[in-house]
């Protein structure tokens, strides 16, 4: 991470803390993890219906439209996500529906739709004894059911990252699998090392969830991300 980028991230975190936010919005969260080397989908934060349709066209259909706000940590449950929007009209209609719900938002997120059959999770937590620790595991709806995850204490060496990737029970899913390409593990390694560094550098970050990290053509992309801030003390 360059010094300039790092300062940008720190400013973003400090500002969010000053505003009393418990977490970053999805858009901000993804900005933070992207700075650590985690690949993210093409996306844009928009304010109006027209802007949403224009950006969707630029990104390329199909797209996803989401309400964006730091308070909105469980968007799907709240019905604030519309997927597989195939043209301008779809986007316009979805915009009308979401904005009609009367929920206060910082804007709308237009995002390239990423599809893949394999989903993983990357996370950061702070252990009371060992401090920032990075998690890797099976993602999506299986994360909590299977608890197939591995940990490393930050900072991680590249070897640490490689080992933890291989440690999950479902590691076979990373290889070429039922017609899907093998996952590019080096991208995962860079992402895990990067998330560890984020935890070491930024005290303001309490926890991170990147889930799902979808594999498309062997390349991982962080479709959803949540950066939780340390408890704000006045």
């Amino acid at each position: 991470m360059t010094g300039k980028k790092e300062k940008e991230i720190r400013d973003l975190l400090v500002k969010a803390l000053q505003k009393g936010q418990l977490a970053l919005s999805e858009y901000e969260s993804r900005k933070v993890i992207a700075s650590a080397g985690v690949p993210i989908p093409r996306e844009a934060l928009v304010q109006s219906r027209d802007e949403a349709m224009d950006q969707a066209e630029k990104i390329g259909f199909p797209v996803v439209l989401k309400g964006s706000s730091p308070e909105l940590t469980h968007k799907t449950e709240m019905g604030m996500v519309r997927v597989n929007l195939k043209n301008r009209d779809d986007v316009g209609g979805a915009f009308d529906e979401l904005s009609g719900k009367g929920i206060r938002l910082e804007g709308f997120l237009v995002q390239e739709m990423v599809e893949g059959r394999r989903e993983f999770v990357i996370g950061l937590t702070r252990d009371p004894q060992f401090g920032p620790s990075v998690m890797f595991g099976l993602g999506g709806i299986f994360t909590e059911a299977m608890k197939d995850v591995s940990f490393r204490v930050a900072p991680l060496s590249e070897d640490d990252a490689r080992e933890m990737i291989g440690e999950i029970r479902a590691a076979k899913l990373l290889d070429a699998f039922r017609g899907e390409k093998a996952v590019d593990r080096e991208i995962l390694v860079r992402a895990l090392v990067g998330i560890g560094h984020l935890g070491m550098k930024h005290e303001e970050i309490a926890e991170i969830d990147i889930n799902p990290l979808i594999i498309r053509d062997g390349k991982p992309i962080a479709v959803d991300a949540l950066v939780i801030l340390k408890a704000h003390r006045a």
């Binding site: 937590t125 252990d127 060992f130 401090g131 620790s133 080992e163 991170i208 969830d209």
Partner: protein, 479 residues
């Protein structure tokens, strides 16, 4: 740190002539049994002498500032005593009394008070709520309540060994020391650290780098500072074997993210062990059963194991265990099998190698063939002692292992008490079960892998042999 193990003079605060006084047992141990040469003072309310140790009513009245103060009085008196100790100029203190941070808020407040005085005066503390230190070479021990007439305690000091322990429970310390007495490796030092308000596991791992210790064993109920422990373990040039109690979920309680919800301390702790080469033990028994694999045998530098048995059944069992432990039953090369065939009396020349009633030379030939085979990294001999010569063969095997720099984890499928007796009498590192032997191979390989990662391998390959000679001469010098 040395002053905790080899002080030139000590004061036992709280030793008196009251029946069942615990401080008294420390004076007895030092004077009657260990024949401790330095001055031992007793401090008690009456200022009375205890078993020939001159008595005083205050630390301030002592004729000198002893190297070490041992406190064994009710917790509420301790903060005041630490102030006296500081004023007297004593710099090392063992607080054996209980009732501090483990005993609620008042105890915690007292512990903080002690910490502050200690820090301001450069005092180092072991405890509170501990037994303190034991050093076999220095013939020093400040454990209370030890009855030296028990045979094991007696013997521990007679034959100092090279295993050092950092233990957060007095009971486990005694169990491990007694068990080692029936094994072939001995104790160097034992520290019971209790609540570890000051000296902790990381300090001691660092300290054990510089003495005769060859293997460091730890039993911990909590970690004081995870990062410091990792740092100390990473720098350790000696195997660190650790058993940790408890899988707490304090981290998970207030978690908002899924990551934190799944990260109980145990999983992170496990990761920390993997990252730093700490060998995490599966049971307390491993604290005393595994060290001999490190001191008596070369390290296992690969995963390919050849089993050799004179009872077919054990071959099959061991194959499963090896795979579960992450090792491999090696597929013997055709030329190795050819050589085995020529030996004769071999039922099965494939792994596990199985022989019937055979002569000693057959055993020796097979050891040689297997250890010299390039495809074999280590041996799992499962040899029933059905004739006395088997013992001699095992002694030869130990020499061959050193020569080929490959280990053997020996199990003798005989009655456990018989195997233990043979181990002790003939000084052969025999494991008590097949599981234990396989586990010994696994941890040896894990340790080797951690050395590779740390780039420590150059110095370590010949560790056992070099350290051994050193250890023997130290032992002789003691006598």
């Amino acid at each position: 740190m040395e002053l905790f193990f080899d002080p030139r003079s000590v004061v036992v605060i709280g030793a008196s002539n009251t029946p069942f006084n615990l401080g008294h047992t420390i004076c007895n141990m030092l004077k009657d049994y260990l024949h401790y040469q330095g001055a031992v003072y007793a401090v008690n309310s009456k200022g009375e002498a205890v078993n020939g140790c001159p008595g005083y009513s205050s630390v301030l009245d002592l004729p000198e500032a002893p190297d070490l103060a041992i406190i064994i009085v009710a917790a509420r008196h301790v903060p005041g005593l630490i102030e006296d100790i500081a004023r007297k100029g004593i710099r090392r203190v063992v607080i054996e009394s209980a009732g501090f941070s483990e005993g609620g808020e008042i105890g915690e407040a007292m512990q903080r008070e002690i910490d502050t005085i200690a820090r301001q005066n450069g005092i180092r503390i072991l405890g509170p709520n501990c037994l303190g230190a034991l050093s076999t070479r220095d013939k020093f021990c400040c454990f209370y309540g030890v009855n030296p007439s028990l045979v094991e305690m007696n013997q521990i000091f007679e034959s100092p060994g090279n295993i050092s322990y950092i233990i957060q429970s007095g009971g486990v310390a005694v169990l491990v020391m007694e068990s080692l007495y029936y094994d072939i490796v001995g104790v160097n030092k034992v520290v019971s650290i209790g609540n570890k308000c000051d000296v902790d596991e990381a300090d001691l791992i660092e300290y054990f780098q510089k003495d005769e210790t060859e293997v460091i064993g730890l039993y911990l109920e909590n970690i004081s500072n995870g990062r410091r422990l990792m740092e100390a373990a990473r720098k350790s040039h000696k195997p660190v074997l650790l058993y940790k109690v408890g899988k707490t979920k304090e981290g998970a309680m207030a978690a908002m993210s899924h990551t934190a919800g799944m990260a109980n301390n145990d999983r992170v702790f496990d990761a920390a062990c993997r990252q730093t080469g700490i060998i995490r033990l599966q049971s307390i028994d491993e604290l005393h059963s595994l060290p001999k694999m490190f001191t008596e045998m070369p390290l296992l530098k690969g995963k390919r194991i050849a089993a050799f048995t004179n009872s077919g059944a054990f071959g099959g069992i061991s194959a499963d265990l090896l795979v579960q432990a992450g090792l491999q039953m090696v597929r013997l090369a055709p030329q190795t099998q050819e050589k085995l065939k020529k030996v004769g009396q071999v039922f099965n020349v494939k792994n596990p190698v199985d022989i019937g009633p055979a002569l000693p030379q057959t055993y020796l030939d097979i050891f040689e063939i297997l250890l010299s085979a390039d495809e074999v990294d280590g041996l799992l001999p499962l040899l029933s002692v059905w004739q006395p010569f088997v013992i001699d063969c095992l002694l030869e095997l130990m020499k061959m292992c050193k020569q080929y720099e490959k280990p053997a984890a020996i199990y003798t499928p005989n009655a456990a008490s018989k195997s233990i007796a043979i181990r002790k009498k003939s000084r052969i590192p025999i494991f008590e079960t097949t599981e234990q032997a396989v586990r010994a191979l696994a941890v040896s390989q894990m340790y080797w892998a951690s050395l590779l990662k740390k780039n420590f391998t150059g110095e370590k390959t010949s560790c056992s042999a070099g350290m051994k000679a050193n250890h023997r001469s130290t032992g002789e010098a003691m006598q």
